[in-house]
Subunit: 341 residues, 4 copies
């Protein structure tokens, strides 16, 4: 049994804590939160210890591994500390909003053998993964185009968006990772277009976009097209499509149930899409914990790690610049951005 | 927290034990099985006590309620004992294969206030329930026809079938309950046709059918049509359809994931159907435990009870007689069958 | 070019006339209708002669074949006359509402080599036919069950229903033929249940049913289940399903177009079903003409002939009796009904 | 009856000729082809005159309108001649591969009242049009994103591609028009990425791409994303999607029939997609003729005209430049390209 402590028990941390508790080869070693009451509440509900500090968690011989679900600005620090303490970790994305900070973190943990897994949960969705597997197994032949549709049910509050790092770093980052997951080779060029359509006034204030389209190209010419919107009122729209020389694989949306209603007014109306990311990716979140437990048990590198987190951020930087300056941005150029003088 | 003990920890009992353990308002109070090793194994895996006898379970002040997942011939006895002990119970279907035994049981427990829930799990499937809810909410107007397709992935072993009570009592019984669930009124007449097509030689030996079609009619003329097969090689086929004056509601099959593959040879191939009943009705089994916990907590009658179990068996008897004699059988006639002289 | 004259240019006759005119290997030789104005109108619109009498049509050397789309009571007479005149014919179903009249007709035309095709148009629907073809090609292995859903968008006027011969002879007759088409072997037993739900008062007056369920069984035990309703407000519901040892083939409903609308209120609403039989079976009606032209050109027996029309009526008789007396009716028994004493 | 002559009776011209002949308010006035034998063949098959020259067609009082289905380099000349002759015309796309030639043509026919319709047939597809209509009717609220998937079943021969003007002018041009049709406002900026993946060697020789992704943006920030491939082995993939503030409308692929096959190996395999453009857009081609007949009868401007043909070419030029130089190209800039110095 792998004993995992959860740092940060907001909405996502709580869900992870429950998934850890339910996993047959893991136990919840305890929780920590900067807000004592939050930790106490989860501690009581799940009958596990509440730790008093990060240091206490990292020092505890009762903790085999940690899950980092704290606020974004703390991630890089916690990764460095967990590496120092030799505790394998599953860290929620992103590593940091600043590529320079990510690169500094990379230098500090260079060469570590401590397993670091990044929380790109969509890789563990059975349908998206089946697309990737179909590609890897050659069922669609040589891959040519990937098309990712990713739209949030509704705009987050301005307070959240203000510190989110912008749509590319906050939302598209999942799709950049999905594109890399399906493409199986690195992206070299990025074209992006950003618009302010859902809430133009708020986007103006934030200097952000709410509707974006991005084309990624690999060295061999494979293309990945991503369309994002901060608002899809019909539900959380999450689709992945891959075209190859032998066919196409598509991961379709998930519905709350499979009842279909046909009346004079509406013929063949499906059930609503799963609307909330925790519902939509319920199986994926559970499978993610399973993959982390596997990595910790075997001491092997998790299938999605620090460098994946860094690459997704590099693509976000490149996309942002492309949208701002109106030209194709080379990834090498975006990656250079953070290099020390 | 409702403390529930599980009697019988074969395949289904184990699954129930895990669902109880995972339920936020229930705990697994322990397990019992006539085979000590089976109880010991589950006891060890789930860290709960193994009881030495049914009597011990029923006498324990640490047990608030029981789940009966033992072999069919023990169900009626256990129901009577649990009623005597005042322990609410969730009993797997059927109550018994003999309507006379069911009626004897009914007389012995007559007037009890102890909650008895019957394990007609399909009522808790989100899609089937959405059909029933659409009917009750008037979304399809006045109900006219119900069509239930229910086909098992493959024939069970002869040893199992020999003691199953035959296809109507073993397999169609779920569909009889589903028909009553959706119809919302009692069936008065039954027409059935049985064939031996999947394994004619085995069916001949057993005096049973493997392919049946049944039409049920209520007093107001509503019809429910059930088609069953012991073998659908494309997966576990479970569909429910309701036609009314304002429309139609359909509960469709569930797939393992939502990836669709299109190639030159096969265009738009969906993922396989969920094939195993524990996978197919995973959400339903969990929801069933939830409904039982609700009933025990509130002391109210479970939404599916002893009389539902009895009525489904009455319909099975009627269908068997109809298939054998080639005429419509009145339910009143089938029900009389078990009355004492 | 096969020159075909159309007898009867009501709604269906007109459509046939247009399909003949559009067929590359057929021409419309002219039209006849008992109502002169109707014939004159179609004659003018399609620039073809209007014949003055049936006799004139049958005597004309400019007419190679005829299409009979007159009222039902005239069909058997016209078949006999066309046989006498040596003109191949495509006759709309049914041959007659009376099995005795059909049998008399059969005796009179016994041994004729003149091609007689019956207008069971649904056999020519590409999707239904693909089900039949999948069955014949062994793609689903040995056939076990056929399930036919057939529901009319709305109740026809009482005047029409009064002379229709009742739901089994008028509506289910298409499904009896479809069942025979897919089953590929003769039905030996019929069970039927009839209800009055759509318009109980009118059905009471007519002594008819508006909602019926029928189970057909072949000598080898294959089952075909038909559900009919005179009213499906969500559109013309026409589905055929076949289950076999290797799989299932399903013919699904046709929609007016393939646009799907998803909003907050309704997720994934498809376009309306094709609602009117002439729209729904447009391709089938055109293919039917093609099959008739082929038969006339080659002088071979049409793939659906007089005996198919007779068998469907025998099944209708059997179903009616079964619904009335509440027992399984043997087809041999129904067929005997019309035999001369 | 509008009497229409067809110029050019290759594959597309013949189909148009048949559609004209079948239209209730049009007749085929005759055909012309630079290859006498081709004209003679169609003339004989459809029993219409074969004209000896374009001049003869344009001078004929028996010809009310013309359909131009000759080779691309002749289109602009024929448009100018038909305008001079006062004959309304339906001209296959493109007007010309050179924007300068198109602009010269525009100047020569400036101010004409002769109806000129451009053959952007996809506008008449019932499903695509239903998307556009849903957008115009406000059913999805304010439009934000359009996503067009357009993939050809297989690569055309090199000889054809050599004179096609390249993928943007030959293939994407239909999607540029579809984007404008759905967007309902003009595109101001174009980003494109081109790859050589289907046949890199041939594409290298041609200086062309076979796999492209394009993002179009309007002045208000609406986005249209187009993905094209010269090869989709699973069939002709033609989908249009529109996202707005109130929902999403999607036009899905069309299948040859609606039979679905489920076996142990493949669950829920749909029928093949319509593979050939003449099959896929059969209804659209017929509706296009209808729209042209309407325009000629009423003397009103066709719903898709010369300027639509010109705008689509401007977008093709912009996309080509964007793909070549790796930056966003402003449409004003592309349009200027053809202006006289």
């Amino acid at each position: 049994m792998i004993r995992i402590a959860v740092l940060g028990v907001g909405r996502i941390g709580r869900m992870h804590a429950e998934n850890i508790a339910a996993h047959p080869r893991a136990t919840l070693a305890g929780v920590y939160d900067v807000i004592d009451a939050a930790a106490a509440d989860v501690s009581a509900r799940l009958s596990v210890p509440a730790f008093g500090s990060v240091e206490e968690v990292l020092a505890s011989p009762e903790v085999d591994a940690i899950l980092i679900a704290t606020s974004t600005p703390t991630h890089a620090d916690l990764i460095e500390k967990a590496v120092a303490a030799g505790k394998p970790m599953l860290c929620e994305k992103p590593i940091d909003l600043s590529l320079a900070r990510v690169d500094a973190c990379a230098r500090r943990i260079a060469g570590t053998a401590v397993p670091i897994m990044l929380g790109f949960v969509r890789r563990f969705d059975p349908s998206h993964r089946a697309v990737r597997d179909a590609v890897r197994a050659g069922r669609i032949g040589d891959l040519h185009q990937v098309v990712i549709t990713s739209r949030d049910p509704g705009l987050a509050p301005e307070g959240y968006l203000k510190v989110s790092g912008g749509i590319f770093r906050d939302m598209t980052i999942h799709d950049f990772d999905m594109a890399r997951f399906v493409l199986g080779e690195e992206v070299v060029a990025v074209q992006a277009t950003g618009s302010r359509l859902v809430d133009p006034a708020m986007m103006e204030r934030l200097g952000d976009y709410d509707t974006v389209s991005i084309t990624l190209t690999t060295a061999s010419g494979k293309q990945a097209v991503i369309t994002n919107s901060r608002q899809s009122v019909y539900g959380y729209d999450q689709r992945v499509e891959a075209l190859g020389t032998l066919g196409m694989a598509q991961s379709e949306n998930i519905r709350a149930h499979h009842m279909v209603l046909s009346t004079q007014a509406q013929t063949g109306e499906g059930a609503p899409l799963q609307n909330f990311f925790i519902d939509r990716y319920r199986e994926a979140f559970a499978a993610e914990i399973g993959a982390f437990v596997d990595a910790v048990e075997t001491g092997t590198a998790p299938e999605v790690g620090f460098e994946d987190g860094r690459q997704a951020l590099v693509l976000a930087e490149a996309a942002l610049r492309s949208a701002q300056v109106g030209r194709t941005v080379q990834v090498s150029e975006a990656a250079r951005q953070s290099e020390p003088a």
